[in-house]
Symmetry: D2
Subunit: 142 residues, 4 copies
């Protein structure tokens, strides 16, 4: 799970990749004071970050570590069901369907008690090798 060190923002935020497989990814984050909003609970944006990352990674795994794919997030919807101020957040991304160029993933984010705190639904576009400058360049999740 050395991927963490390739994703500066996740690393900086404190999120770690706990599991990664052909159709899923699990990220975990220990809540610290800098993750909070002005109401004293985890900032809504944190859930969106985790949903973006876990959903994106769910479609990028390869059995050959050097062959992990990269993708751009096209659209991400985050629904905020609950709140948390301490403990860990666990974000499990699952592949819903994979096409040749596009894939969809769903993400469930739970707290320590297993309560569902947020849900993400995303669509993603695979980057083609060396394709960084093509007309479909879009910001990437993972």
């Amino acid at each position: 799970m050395t991927l963490d060190h390739e994703v500066p923002f996740l690393d900086w935020m404190g999120a770690t990749l706990v599991e990664w497989g052909p159709e899923h990814a699990l990220l975990s984050l220990a809540i610290t004071p800098q993750h909070l909003n002005r109401s004293g609970v985890v900032h809504g944006g944190i859930y969106a970050v985790l949903a973006d990352a876990a959903g994106g990674l769910a479609g990028c795994y390869s059995h050959h570590p050097a062959a992990h794919r990269k993708s751009y997030t096209l659209s991400l919807t985050t629904s905020f069901l609950g709140s948390s101020a301490q403990g860990r957040l666990n974000a499990r991304g699952s592949l819903r369907r994979r096409g040749r160029r596009v894939y969809f993933a769903t993400v469930e984010i739970t707290g320590d008690t297993g309560e569902l705190l947020a849900v993400g639904e995303g669509s993603f576009l695979y980057r083609t090798p060396g394709g960084a400058a093509h007309a479909d360049s879009l910001p990437g999740a993972p």
Copy 2:
């Protein structure tokens, strides 16, 4: 614009509140290396954080600083149109419509050249004073 210091996560990420009024909020972020993803551009989650915060704040301003409101994000959709690796991101949230309990906001995120990089659409629920523990408790944006 001392709000920044009340939102630990935005503060920590480096985002500052540049403008705030009855129907809008403008956040700005100077891109630094820790904001990037493994493709070397700004992590998609950053756009979602900015959209969540700018959209949420667009509905919370009061002419009396002590009376700024608080809200929970219900749902946020972020569309990722472009990418950036340097300079600033500017996120302008605008109120679309305000009800008694619920409001909607749209957010446009641009880079230094003014190019539209991401768009957010969100729905938000006002917190009632002292209402932190009621059944509608949901994680908040701003």
Copy 3:
């Protein structure tokens, strides 16, 4: 399941309410030629209609038929995973979380073979009795 006759648009489109309970609703639609788009498959809007209706109804059931609740849809995201041109569409809406005023539902839409064709995620606001004209008036799903 006489609800159908209270929802003119669903009735007109040919959708029927097959199951309805405290935390779910199942709608079914037999695909006919007028449901198609110019590519000859079911129009994407049909999936959104079914998601809106099944998700909304999932939060409105009462054991007392005269006490079924009504709600407004706040936000609905539909993800389109597959396509179909014949047979039936089944839309199962499930309550994700219910607050005092707001609830969330997820909807899975499958075809005859059980393949997942579309997914909906929605947030909804309960109408208060006699509240049709209040400032939160928003268009309703079910």
Copy 4:
């Protein structure tokens, strides 16, 4: 504007294509009783249908009528800001950004008085000629 007759579902619902150009599409619908929900206002699904269609068409225009493109909707988020029970609905879809394979569109739906009733944000994938059966087959909007 003979496109109407190529889209059975829009035709059946009563929607007409009023304008169509390289980066926009305008649909109009005269509200009739069969468009209503059990609260007596336009069913939320109608707004989603119009958003899906107007957004999709905004990226498909060609100066050569025989060369209009086709696309699949990937994701569509509809925000419901208001309600209406009579008159017309006008749905203006505008292209936000076009890539080689993917495009984004936003849609504003207004009533007779010009009030904004709903907003749509969608991502779309171009169909390749003769590509109906490829692995990216997804249901199409326009």
